[in-house]
Symmetry: D2
Subunit: 310 residues, 4 copies
């Protein structure tokens, strides 16, 4: 159980975390299919904590923009649930952990085109397709949403990076056409993948992302009022905990004990319900695709603060 | 975030839960391969809450013994971790959600005999094998452990039921021999399955199970001192949340938001960290093998009390 | 063992076959994703035998053009092997049966983008990609090849049908993008699928197809000289026998005992090594996608003539 | 097409084959789970051809007994078909290639306990179970059958080897219990596996096996009359061609072009319909579990004699 935040000396703690976890030498990997991510210096490390009471603490490269990649999936899911009074999204995507990453296409085939959850790529494509019904340029809509929540105009879509990433998106195109074959995509496969890649190519800083995710720690209440209902906020948290870290969701729940969502840009967004939103960033990845230094830092932070949902 | 337990009128709430959820007509299914479970009247429904402060509230058939089945896996895991200073158990079983139930044998084959988590049958067989190294009669050891934690001598192994269940254990024998083939079983396949089935055939009441599980809500502190460390208690909770409800773990986390473990006898054990342990029981199951009325009751209880880890 | 063709009264036998097997009522199915195929009257039935000595026997609707669909794969494979002195095709596609049809994408994922054989769709896409290196319009090249071998100018690409089929080609596009992701496609996914669909949309008659396939029964010797070497002809036959009938290859080998290749247009091309090539056509399909009446007719013909490789 | 046997100088050809293919140095592997097979000297190589006209040619270690292992499956299948007037065997096992060996348990799970063909282990266990209905000691019945067909009393069950192999039969026990779980096994899992292993442990020479298999080349006519009908003989041949060489059936059909069945003891039985039965033996295996030198020798022999069904 998370203990209340009794004025912990968060500033010094974050400085310590940066000192301990900023990579001293090149370790971990970068995504083979997204070349520009490999160009980020390996020793980048930033962390920011936005508290429910409105404060922001940060340390390291917390003001350096990075590619949010799959962290975008948390926000597109929230946006899709906002406009989904009838719950129709949940007839198109499940809320179950996906098991081994090996299963990506296997699972889709066995379960007839219904992705296991909104955070695997197939599920995120369905969410994007869902958003595009109302707003064809779903990526720009997401950018505005993030700017509003982060109370910052700094975020932007790196269109050149998106174009580069799109050129290496054969697997996502395969998934999209496969979803189409099962009747679970309404827009064209190409347009959905393009929007999806542009969402992933949004550039933000740790401070901005921590702020943008704060509504999930405050029962759905964002910077300017309700983003999602309290119960939807809880539910997004449960999906983050069970599905947010690719095939290491169980390991992350075990070590950190908090709902999180990682991206292959090296960022991880973590929610401490009722307390704060945390964003950590360091570009090199472990074998499961999660930030190597970021994951270790979060385990440490959880131990130091006692933050855990268990 | 779980709010503190401000003297909620738990007695009346549980009575209401029983009134609303006790099955009025036959619905749901019983396990085809364990005939005696089908003989339990469909309208049985009990609930008990054991609080961290030592109180026990209950309603309905909370004092009627039922077959704990897979709920036993929570306790064998705790026992295995007690004696596993070196962490050797975690080289034999993972801590990740298992994806589709369809994957049971597929997963084992793809991942070379390492079960995805300790709560799928293959994983529980490995845990039992681990316990048998020290105590060949692991089932009797489990019974003593449960009696101590529940502060009750009522629990017993239904040996006749176990013998019947053993006769229909072909799939578990297949799993055990398969684990053996991968070198991940030290005892004979037959002896491990026999112990496993006898553990599942333990008969307990809701009140006893809620009491027995209380250490998981109290940082590992049981009736007579430390059962597991605070960090192990948290970790068992994280495994329950991500893997405790068969292939409906995500759905349960989404609806109830609490770590839980179900059994095909119709029981579900749920932990509210820092607050209480809950046991609900009703014998008829949904398509995923979880108690139909029990799951609905827990969703209601979570809404009424605000208990949730998210 | 095939007995030599001792002037069997082939004409009357084929007439009998047509009388026995022409569908009297609507049974079987048509492919859901290729609408125009469903418009063909269910009672069409034709058969033609082109003998090694140069005679052609036929009966029923043997002169009615139909959509050759996957029968095209036999000929694109032959064309690819013609120009493949170095054997480079076989580093991109295997020669093994594919097991369950369920495996289509599973197999590709597990075996890292190398299709099991040239007759499953993924394999045929690789063969088409291979041909396109030299001839971007591989479909037109195939059409010319078939016209030459059949000594007929009747064959044509039904471009309207191809366009319609292309619109429903999401699964083939998924396969092509997936192959691309594994680096096993050189042309664009879209261009390969377009060529593939146009190859499938070639319209030919039973008589033309039997003639066109005759080189496979004559050690590779076609109408105007060598098409493939004797050893390549034998090898194509072995691939037809083990992989030619979708997931019913074993059943077909068991019932008919001859190398065959079917298409969802209802045609089946069969080779009797040293003796003849047979083409049968009837549009309605069994559950595995092979012509219902055509398969039954071939089993009968094999019994009546003693033709079998076993 | 197989050409008639025009007094080819078979003796000298076989001597050449032995000279070319007898291993000069240790290469290939031995089965990890059957230790005694590894003790056979790597340079053993024998070959025998039993012709339809009654002659036997042989060379090399053709009179040295070896463990027939899975070659036994051809003969148990023939025995099961003998007594299976109603075709009930084919409701319990399919006749389709099995795809990747990886699929062994996957396939069984996906297809609800019906093995893909009688030559994968699961299928052979079903065949053995089928035989045991009439003859509990199916292995001894097989031995008598083989002795009769081979016209030799030399064959014997190596009971010590069988006992050793049984101790390492966890995977077969897993398969048997899994079949039992699906209701596709009538005897106990243990007794079926024991019989199966004893069948595999029969010791025979190349000469004996070639003679024993001759009925398959002679339309089902064995040493003392009809063994199976002509049509059953053809059908067993078709199953050998499509499923006889583990996951290399397609490759073998492509290179050799004849129905064959291999065993991990290093033997391969091949049928030339109408002409002869061939047995080659050399103990070291390729990556697919087929005799390394044996497969190469058969490809050579097929080229030298023109024997091929295509």
């Amino acid at each position: 159980m998370t203990t209340a935040l009794k004025a912990p000396p968060l500033g010094p703690i974050l400085d310590d975390i940066v000192r301990s976890h900023r990579p001293q030498r090149e370790a971990g990997s970068v995504p083979a299919n997204i070349p520009f991510l490999g160009a980020v210096p390996f020793d980048r490390f930033g962390i920011a904590v936005a508290t429910a009471s409105g404060e922001v603490f940060s340390s390291g490269d917390a003001e350096v923009p990075f590619s949010i990649q799959s962290i975008s999936k948390v926000f597109t899911l929230a946006m899709a649930l906002q406009g989904d009074r009838s719950g129709s999204l949940w007839s198109r995507v499940l809320r179950e952990p996906s098991g081994t990453s090996f299963n990506s296409l296997v699972q889709l085939e066995v379960e007839h085109g219904i992705p296991r959850n909104p955070f695997i790529n197939a599920g995120a494509l369905v969410v994007t397709d869902h958003l595009m019904k109302e707003t064809p340029d779903a990526a720009t809509r997401l950018l505005r949403f993030l700017a509003t929540q982060a109370a910052s105009t700094g975020a932007y879509i790196d269109e050149a990076a998106a174009a580069g990433e799109l050129a290496g998106s054969s697997r996502n195109l395969a998934l999209a056409h496969f979803l189409k074959d099962f009747g679970n995509l309404q827009q064209t496969a190409e347009s959905v993948v393009e929007n999806y890649v542009r969402q992933c190519s949004i550039m933000m800083t740790c401070v901005e992302l921590a702020r943008a995710g704060l509504f999930l720690a405050r029962n759905g209440q964002g910077t300017h009022g309700t983003v999602v209902s309290a119960s939807e906020a809880k539910r997004i948290g449960s999906i983050m905990l069970t599905c947010g870290m690719y095939d290491a969701a169980g390991e992350f729940a075990y070590r950190v004990g908090l709902p999180g969502k990682s991206g292959v840009g090296g960022g991880i967004l973590v929610i401490v319900p009722g307390v704060c939103a945390i964003c950590v960033w360091s570009p090199r990845l472990d074998a499961k695709g999660n930030s190597l230094a970021g994951t270790a830092a979060l385990a440490d932070l959880s131990d130091l603060t006692g933050w855990s949902v268990f």
